[in-house]
Every structure is written in structure tokens, then in C-alpha cells.
Amino acid sequence: MSVDTVTTMTKLTRKPLEQEASERWLDDAAVPGRRDFASSGRLLVVEGALQVAQWAGLALVAQGALNADVVLCGWGVTLMLAGGLAAFAVKRAADHAALAGALAVAQGIRQRLIAALLPNRARRTTTEPAAAAHAVIELTDQVAEFHAAVIPLRRQAPASMVLILVVIGIVHWPAAIVLVVSTALIPLNMKLAGIFAQDGNDRHLLAIQRMSAVVLDSFRGLHTLVTLGAVGRRRDDIAKASAELTKANLDVLKRAFLSGAVMDTVVTFSVAVNATYIGLSLLHYVSVPGAPPLTLFAGLLALVLCPMYFTPLRRSAAAFHDRERAKSAALTLSVMMASDDEPSVEAPNAFESVAPAAHVGVALSGIVAEAEDNVIFTAGRLHAAPGGWTGITGVSGAGKTTLLSIIAGLRSATGSVAWVRDDLVGTDYFETPPVVGASAWIGQATVIIEDSLAANIRLGREDARDDEVLHAAQVAGLQPVIDRVGLEAVIGDSGWGISTGEARRVAIARAVLTQSQLWILDEPTSHLDAATERHVLQSLVAATEGCTVLVATHSRQVVELCDAIWRIDEGRVQVLAGPVATR
């Protein structure tokens, strides 16, 4: 629950269209849990009925005491115990059903999220790993918890409220009329309170925004304040802004609490009015024409059912914060999944037919790479020669990985990207857009699945023969691992441990098996010490014999292997004259 507007204020600027779509998304997300939620709602209705029985038992005990009827008291106590215990047992079942629904909702969202984040084709957007993990774990939970809290309640509320009205109507109908009248007053009063609160919000929103800015600014600019020696002065400003912020927030809260107060007033007065009416009826001071004669049992039961009648309404009012949180989570999640819904354009896989011996070059022109409306870099005409090593350099964040992703076809960009097949004789020249899955990519992170070394290498080509796997392993420099654990022992988390350098070699072996002619390497030697780097590079050189290699790197050792260097500098890709070819 948030009492303060500083932290939420920054998230207020949302597009109405996106918001609408995300609300629809939020409703759709509930579908997998629908059956569980429905049964949870039904069980909650049963719980309500059992609670009515419990209260009836209580009223019976009192009636028994009045009549000095021990048997009646005994029945009353029995009903209280049985009804109460059964109610909680049913509540437990209802909660378990709601939990099952929540887990189903979460699983549904997570499956779709994972499919969107790790598709088997080009990805439209890239999501920062930590943000993605946050979405899959926390945001998903928030949506699931919200549905689990609200949907069963929505199903239960009308049934439970009608049930109680009927019971009260049967025992003494004038008391039911008091409740009906009170209920009718709620929407009217809520509306009034809402208008009042909205007015307050509008008036104070600007003030709050201004003062939140002072507080946020002060933290963001802390370094500047320290260097300028202005911390003390700023502290006074914050204190002043904080005090004003408190005042503005309280003004808003004063109005916001009104809706709670309305509910309180209605509940309280329906109890008080009923209590007084029932008391006076029992004293025979008042009587409603046509009303049945009142007993203590009926009067007490009608009284205790009053607050219970309002419970579902109060619960759904309390779910307001959950709803806000779920809505904001839904906004993030629906945007993250949006790429999942768009149909993919299958590129013609012309390279399936390409003989392994063919040479492949890469031609780019007029590339504009963008991320969230910001241009990362632009590139004019670039050509990576077949059979050569092209290095891509630039500071971290310049867009090296983005450029590689565009070349591999993993990411879309404005401009043209082509793989150029050229068999050097000139008779069979053609171009194709990048084909996902037809280049060999080696990145900074290699995933080792929990299986044998051979199975890990076979990820490159499922139908590879044993001797091909062995050959690939040897080319990649995995002989020491074969000597140590063999090709068939399980490696990975629960099996034989292998080092980062060895994992990188597994990636190389996989790439060898693909027989791809285009190798795309994203800082393949980062996180390796100098000696390991040298050995891994030797293996890479051996493995890519005759292939075209594009490699993003910060490493001097790698640059020395390259025939040409593309450098991303201040948003432009520039070709540096091919240096240092000492290979």
C-alpha cells in the first residue's frame, strides 16, 4: 500500500490506448484459473451459509437461556461448534481452490512470457534480462494474486448477500428492509465521496508533482550537490518540500478516506438501527403492521447477520490497491508480450540448399538501429568479405551486439541486410535476407544442458554421427574434457563441472556441427584470462577455416586476427582500414 505520491507520480504518464489494451489483457490472463476461481466462489457461498448456521446456534443458545431450556441450549452450542468448524473447513477448501487458480493464471502468463522472450525466431524487441526476470517472477505473481483475491469474491458477493437477506427476511422481514435501504444508500454516498475526492485530487496533483520533483531531484543530483557544497541548503529545501508534500497528501487522503467512512457509516447505522428497532419490538413498544411477532432468537440472528451482510462489499473495497498494482503490472507485461502476437514473416530458407563449401559474405546498407524510439547507430554501405574476419569494436553500449543481431537476423532494423552467397566462380551468385538458425552464434554466455557432452554438442545438429561429434569436439579443443569425463558422462549443474573456457569450447563444437559458413561471435573471449583466451582463439581460428567471421570484441588479441575493423563511434559505424593481419 502506498501512502505517498512521490514514487508513484513518475508512473502516471500512460497512454490511454495502451491502458485499455492492458486492461483487456488483464481480464484475458484470468482465463486459465476460471474454473478454480468459480469453485472457490461457490465454496465461499457455502461458507457463508455455514456461518449463518453458526450464528443461528448462537441465537439459539440465548433463546434457550431465556426459556431456561437446557436442551435448546445444547442444540445451540452444537450448532455453533458444527457450523463454525465446518465454515472454516470450507473456507480452507475455497482458499486452496483460489490458490490453484492463481497458480494456473501465473503458469499461463509465464508460458506466454517465456515464449515471447525466448522465441524460436527473430525477436522484435530485446528485453533487459533483469527486467524480464522481474516480469516473469514478481509482476506475474501480482496479477495472479489480484485475480485470486477478486474473482471468487465477485462470484460470492451477490449470492451471499441475497442468502442473508432471505434468512433475515424469513425470521423478521422489517429488519431486511433496513438492510436493503442501507445498501441502496451506498452507491449514492460513494458517488458523492468519489466526486469530492476527485476534486481534491485534481487540485492537489500539481502541488504534489512539484514537490515530488524536489525530493526526487535531490537524490538524483546528490553527486552534483556534494561537489558544489550545496547539500546543507538543499536539505532545508527538502525538509520544506517534504512538509508541504505531507500537507498536500493529507488533503487528498482526507477526501479519499471519505469513501471508507461512508461504508462505515452505513454498516454501523444499519446495526444500530436494527438493534434499537429489535429491542423496542421485543419490549412491545413498537410494532410494524403485518410483521410476525419477534422472538429473541429471530432478533439476535437478524442483528448478527447485519455486519456479515456487508463483508463482501468491504472486502472488494479493500482490494482497490491490489487492483492498481495489477493494472500497472499488466501494462508492463502486455507490452513485453506484444511482440509475441505479431505474426512472423518466415524467410525463405535458401541456405538449406547451399553446399557447405560455398562462401558467404554480408552486405549492409542504410541501416538505422533503434531501441524505444532512440537511434542506437546508423551505418552506410558495409561489406564483410567472404572467408575473412571482420572485427566490430566500440565502447560498451555502442551497439555491437545489436549490429550482430541484425546481421544474424535476430533483430529487425531499417535498411537492407543481405547474406551474399558467392561461389567465387561467379556463376551462382545470389542474395538472401538473414536466416535465423543458419549462422553460428557464439556469445558471452553458453548454456550447458544437463546431459552428456555429446548431447550438448549435438544441439548444433541433432542427426550428427558420432564421428562428426568427436571431430567437432576435437576441433574445438575439447580433447582434455573428453580425456577427463568422456563424451557420455553427464555434465552441467548436477554432473561434471566444466570451466567457462570449456563451456565456450562446447559452443564452438556446436557451431562446427552446424557446418555454417557464417560465424557471428559476440565477445567470445570475455571473462577469460589471457592464456585461456589465446587457446580458445586458436581453436576458433581452426574451426572457422574458410568461413566468414564477424566478431564483436574489446580484446587486442582478437583485433589482431581481423582482416577489417568496423568501429561504432558516436552512433556511426565506420570502417577502419584493415590492420594488423598477422594470422
Partner: protein
């Protein structure tokens, strides 16, 4: 060891300031607690008295000549009703007022602490997400009054009062009620404790997070092999394990809640039985005891939730304190440069240029700059200019003022930003520096609004405003990263000239793309350090 000791002293210090603030807000907090107790008294009283009143009326109605007067009890019912409505509105308002005030204090403390630690230590706060989380934590912490203290206080006070009232009619029922209330609270406490110590759920969460991060990083490699499905499988597996773990821990919470429900039902049944069969209580007494008992056990289960909130408050507090102390360790790392700022010159030595793709790792920088002259650092982007300037600035501490694009512009006007550096600067002075930096030709005046983070100004204007602010601070050393970026040549030369002219005695350290004769004219005496 030292880091540990440091963290202890910081938290002690915090404890002191916090206590001071707690005591300064306590009248408001106490009033909030009193109102909460009154509101609950209204609730319990309304229910109990109503039941008693109805039952008494029934007794009196059945007797021919009764002396029962309805006036006092029905007046009591109305009073409790009004008390409940008024006090619960007042309680919400007063408690929130107290919380907001505490929040203001904690935030101010946090700011002061962050400012007191060196700039490098508070650096993570510049990241929007980290700051958001930290401010959220301060909020959770300040909510303790509403989420923890109030429910527990209400339970203790109204619970004790209920037990006393019940005891007046039936001592055995009172004993049962007291036992049940305490049992509910203990149960909640144990459940919170178990949840707090339940590492399996945390472990599953962390493992899933790690798996997802790895999978997303490794995606290009495997999708190129056509094996992205295997990756998705692994992630799905991790997520399924997480769900199983979450299901297990949620189920235990549900079962604990059901146990609490069973205790409530049994206690009420036993109270009814002992009151009727043991103490032979009449109908009004029965109605009173059972309704009061129901209400009181409801208060107890709400109070139980306070233990979960307490764990959250503690965790938030630990995170906030740790955030500024844990980074001590990284700050203890050597600065990577040795610097001496004498009366007439600035000397630096032992700065290792990091290795990159065009440079070996063994190049070391050293040099000195005389007072009143300029060191210009040149080199292509990525050659380490910014890192060098930052390291130098960090080593010089408060003797230097650094200007970079990270430098924050504060929401407000040009004048309020300039006056951060010199609060006593008069309007003429501000107009003069604005003119000298060629900002007035762009229509900028002291009263010009800069927008959030200075975004109402262009990039070049932002840079010049930062420079103006730094110049007004009259530092001994002014370090500026690319002060002429985004400026046309004439303006750039004007800006360089202004810096030199306004700070004749200072050492200027500037990074520039290149140095030509006109730059030399504008800056006067200068030395060039090329990192290319």
C-alpha cells in the same frame, strides 16, 4: 572487519536520529493509537451492547411488570455507533499524518546519509530503479505505525478490556477467551517466523531469476542453432519449480489460517457451553459474552497480520542501511591514481590506462599542471578520457568540481541552478555569466525554467549551464568532460575563453576531441595529454 564495524556505527547513529524523530512525532502517533483503540472500542461496544440490549428487552418483554428502561442502553448503542464512525475516520487521518511525517524524517535522514558517504558510494542511487526501490523501502518502514504498532496496541487494550467485561459475567468464559486470543496471536507469530526463515521459497526465486537471466543472455547462441526450444524448456522447468515452491508455502499459510479459524469456532462454542451450563448466565449475559468474544477474536486475527508486516518493515530498514554501508567495501578499493594538489600545481602519477583493443595494458600516465594553466585530454571516444577525469575528480575530492553529462540539472529556473553553487550571487552576476557563456543569445535569462532534469534546454545549453554553475563555485580545480560537445565552433571558443578568464587561478582539466591554435588562444597556457 572494518566494514562491519563501520556498518555498526552507522546504524547506531541512525538509531539515535531515528529515536529523536520518533519522539518528535510521538504525540501525533499516540493520538492515532488512542483513536484506533477508541474506534475498536466503538465496534466491540456496539456489537456487545446491542446483543445485551436485545436480550434484556426480550427478558423484560416477557415479564409483566418490568423495571427495564430502554433509554440508557439504546443511547449507549447510538454513542458506540457514533464513536466507531468518528474515531475510525479520525484514526486513519491522524495515523497517516504521523506516518507521512515520519516518512519525511526518514527520507531526510537517508538523504543526509547518502550525501555524507562519498559520491562513489551513493552512486547506485543515480539509477532510477534503485532510487525507486530505496524510496519504497523508506515508505514501508514509516508505515510501521499503521501496519504493526496500531493493530497490536488495539489488540492488547481492547482484548484486555473485553476479557474483563466477560469475566464480570462468566470467569470461565473469560479465561477461554483470553487463552484463545493469545493462542491466535502466538500462532500468527510462529507462522511469520517460519515464513521468515523459510529459505526454500527464496532459493527457488533466486534460482529462477538466475536461470531467466542466463537464458536471455544465451538466447542468440541457441536460436542460431535452432535450439531455442531447449532454452525455453529449461526456463519453463525453473518456473514450474518456483510455482511448486510457492504453492507449498501458500498452502501452509492457508492451513495456518484454517487452524486459527478452528480455534475461534471452538473457543466460542466452549464459551457458550461454560457460560450456560457452568456459570448459569442469563440470556443478556450470553448475548454480550458471545458477541464481544466474536469481535475480540476478530481483532486478534487482524493483529496476527502485524507480524508479517513487521518482517517487511525490518527487511526494508536493513536494506536501506545496508545500501549505504555495503558499498563501503568497493570504496575502499584503491583509487588507481596518486594526486597531489600543492599551492602552485596539480601533480598526478601512477594512473594505469586500461587495456583495450588498440592498446596494451602497460601504459601509465603521470604529469603536472601549474595553477592558472590547463590540461587538455584528447583521444577518440572509448579511449578512456571520461574514466581518467572521473578518477582524478574522485581523488581530488572537494577541491575539484566536475562537470559531465551525468551532472544533474535541478527542476526550477536557470537562476536556482546557478545559485546552488553560490547562494549569494546577485542577479547582475547571473546575467553576466549567462551572457559570457553565450546563453543569452539563445533567449535564456535567469528566470528561464529548465524543466525536469533540465530537459527544457537543448544539450548544448545544458552543458553550458552546468559549466556556469561550476564556474560560480570557484573551485581550485575544474574538471570538465567534453565541455564543447554540441556547440558550434565560435561558441565553443567563447566558452573555453570564459572558463579561463573567470577562473584565472584555477587548474582546468578538460577533455576535447582535438586542440588547434584557436583553442590555444582561448585557453592560454596549456598541456595536452593524448590517450589515443
Amino acid at each position: 572487519m572494518t566494514a562491519l564495524a563501520h556498518s555498526r556505527t552507522t546504524s547506531d547513529l541512525h538509531e539515535k536520529t531515528r529515536r529523536k524523530h520518533a519522539s518528535s512525532t510521538s504525540p501525533l502517533a499516540l493520538a492515532g493509537l488512542a483513536l484506533a483503540v477508541l474506534a475498536e472500542t466503538g465496534s466491540l461496544g456496539l456489537l456487545g451492547l446491542s446483543g445485551w440490549f436485545i436480550a434484556s428487552s426480550a427478558v423484560a418483554g416477557a415479564t409483566l411488570f418490568s423495571t427495564f428502561s430502554y433509554i440508557a442502553p439504546s443511547g449507549g448503542v447510538r454513542s458506540f455507533a457514533l464513536l466507531r464512525i468518528g474515531a475510525s475516520y479520525g484514526q486513519r487521518l491522524v495515523q497517516h499524518a504521523a506516518v507521512l511525517r515520519t516518512l519525511g524524517w526518514i527520507r531526510l535522514d537517508f538523504f543526509t546519509d547518502a550525501a555524507r558517504t562519498s559520491s562513489q558510494r551513493a552512486r547506485p542511487l543515480r539509477d532510477g530503479d534503485v532510487l525507486d526501490r530505496a524510496l519504497n523501502d523508506t515508505e514501508t518502514e514509516s508505515m510501521a505505525l499503521i501496519s504493526v504498532i496500531s493493530p497490536l496496541t488495539v489488540f492488547v487494550v481492547t482484548g484486555a478490556a473485553s476479557v474483563v467485561v466477560v469475566a464480570l459475567t462468566s470467569p470461565i468464559a473469560a479465561a477461554i477467551l483470553a487463552a484463545a486470543g493469545i493462542a491466535l496471536l502466538l500462532l500468527a507469530w510462529l507462522a511469520a517466523l517460519r515464513k521468515d526463515r523459510d529459505e526454500a521459497a527464496d532459493t527457488a526465486r533466486a534460482a529462477t531469476r538466475a536461470e531467466l537471466v542466463t537464458a536471455i543472455d544465451a538466447w542468440p547462441e541457441l536460436v542460431s542453432l535452432g535450439a531455442a526450444g531447449r532454452l525455453a524448456e529449461r526456463s519453463t522447468g525453473a518456473v514450474a519449480r518456483l510455482a511448486a515452491e510457492q504453492g507449498r508455502s501458500s498452502r501452509s499459510v492457508i492451513n495456518a489460517r484454517a487452524t486459527a479459524g478452528a480455534i475461534t469456532a471452538v473457543a466460542l462454542g466452549l464459551m457458550a457451553a461454560t457460560a450456560v451450563f457452568g456459570d448459569h448466565v442469563g440470556a443478556p449475559g450470553i448475548a454480550l459474552i458471545l458477541l464481544l468474544g466474536t469481535g475480540m477474536l476478530g481483532v486478534a486475527s487482524r493483529a496476527g497480520e502485524a507480524f508479517d508486516a513487521l518482517a517487511a518493515v525490518r527487511a526494508a530498514r536493513v536494506r536501506r542501511l545496508r545500501m549505504l554501508t555495503a558499498s563501503t567495501i568497493s570504496a575502499a578499493a584503491p583509487l588507481g591514481i596518486s594526486v597531489q594538489l600543492g599551492d602552485c600545481e596539480l601533480a598526478f602519477d601512477h594512473y594505469h590506462l586500461p587495456e583495450d583493443e588498440f592498446r596494451d595494458g602497460d601504459r601509465m600516465l603521470a604529469g603536472s599542471v601549474k595553477q592558472g594553466s590547463t590540461l587538455v585530454v584528447t583521444g577518440p571516444s572509448g579511449s578512456g578520457k571520461t574514466t581518467f577525469l572521473e578518477t582524478l575528480g574522485a581523488a581530488l575530492g572537494t577541491a575539484a568540481v566536475e562537470v559531465s553529462v551525468d551532472d544533474h540539472l535541478f527542476t526550477g529556473t536557470v537562476a536556482s541552478n546557478l545559485r546552488l553553487a553560490r547562494p549569494d550571487a546577485d542577479d547582475d552576476e547571473l546575467v553576466q555569466i549567462i551572457q559570457q557563456l553565450q546563453l543569452s543569445s539563445a533567449g535564456i535569462q535567469p528566470s528561464t525554467v529548465v524543466g525536469v532534469g533540465g530537459r527544457a534546454l537543448s544539450g548544448g545549453e545544458q552543458t553550458r549551464l552546468r559549466l556556469g554553475r561550476a564556474i560560480l563555485a570557484r573551485p581550485r580545480v575544474l574538471i570538465a568532460d567534453e565541455p564543447t560537445a554540441g556547440l558550434d565552433e565560435r561558441t565553443a571558443l567563447e566558452v573555453l575563453h570564459t572558463m579561463r578568464e573567470r577562473l584565472p587561478q584555477s587548474v582546468l582539466v578538460l577533455s576535447l576531441h582535438s586542440v588547434d591554435d584557436r583553442v590555444r588562444d582561448a585557453l592560454g597556457d596549456l598541456a595536452v595529454l593524448s590517450l589515443g
